[in-house]
Subunit: 143 residues, 2 copies
Amino acid sequence: MSEKKYTVGQLAKSTGIKSVTIRYYEKIGLLPKAARSESGYRLYTAQDHSRLRFIRRSRGLGFSLDDIRELLSLADQQQAPCASVDAKVNQQLEQVRARLKDLQAMEHELKRLNGCCEGGVIFNCRIIETLSNETVGAGSPTD
Amino acid sequence: MSEKKYTVGQLAKSTGIKSVTIRYYEKIGLLPKAARSESGYRLYTAQDHSRLRFIRRSRGLGFSLDDIRELLSLADQQQAPCASVDAKVNQQLEQVRARLKDLQAMEHELKRLNGCCEGGVIFNCRIIETLSNETVGAGSPTD
DNA sequence: ATTGACCTTATAGCTACTATAACCCTTATT
DNA sequence: AATAAGGGTTATAGTAGCTATAAGGTCAAT
């Protein structure tokens, strides 16, 4: 008995990853080259579906495609220690936290700016003024 | 008396924006075309310095270059109402908050994954297992 | 037979830079 | 005066992770 096969569109629908993206993943070697029907259509198996779900989930956690490539290759080495997987997750967590910190700083600043001019004209606009102000590390060209 | 002029490198050093980037900003019309010395070097004024500082500060708040283009053109219309500036800031604030929400969800998930396998092998790795799991909107291809 | 919804490929575009190559200018030192 | 270091100039290609476009082949139904 041969496995059930799916077209790229069916896979797309069931994973939420677009057909173009799936082909792109194949092109960059993130997915193995799909089998083809007589007429040249790609044919996918349940395994591909699972791999794609893995990718989608990892993307959702902010992993880069390169990271995911590594994770996938790790996932295939069932007897390897999972310390390296752990390390990747840890690393990603720190990256996310760093970006969080940046964004929080942005939010703070934007909140400060938001609504600080009440119906005036730009000449008196505190926002524009603030944006134009000196910042650390941006002195005059003669510094 | 003619203004003091600065080279691209001097401007770069004092604004923290690299020379290449400054040239790039000129190329895409974010900065006006700089005057040139006899030998073809770009010559910048204090005004350019201020404009660049504005860009840097806005970038730091996460504004896109297109947003900044608009902000700059608004900043030049001193008698226009600053409602549109306000709106841009507001919009940016919401975008930042949306990204924050995403990142917080990522952090939450990563924290959950982090360190959940204790020195085992990948075959038993809870992380890999979790990443492979079904998610909402990612059923089987036959759904 | 023809429509419409799918599939195929190759190529270019997107953001905001960064890297590279190959060359010209200025300044200081030998 | 020659030369070397450290600027500057241009054009072009590469980065991530897709998305859009064009120009065509396939499949199922009418």
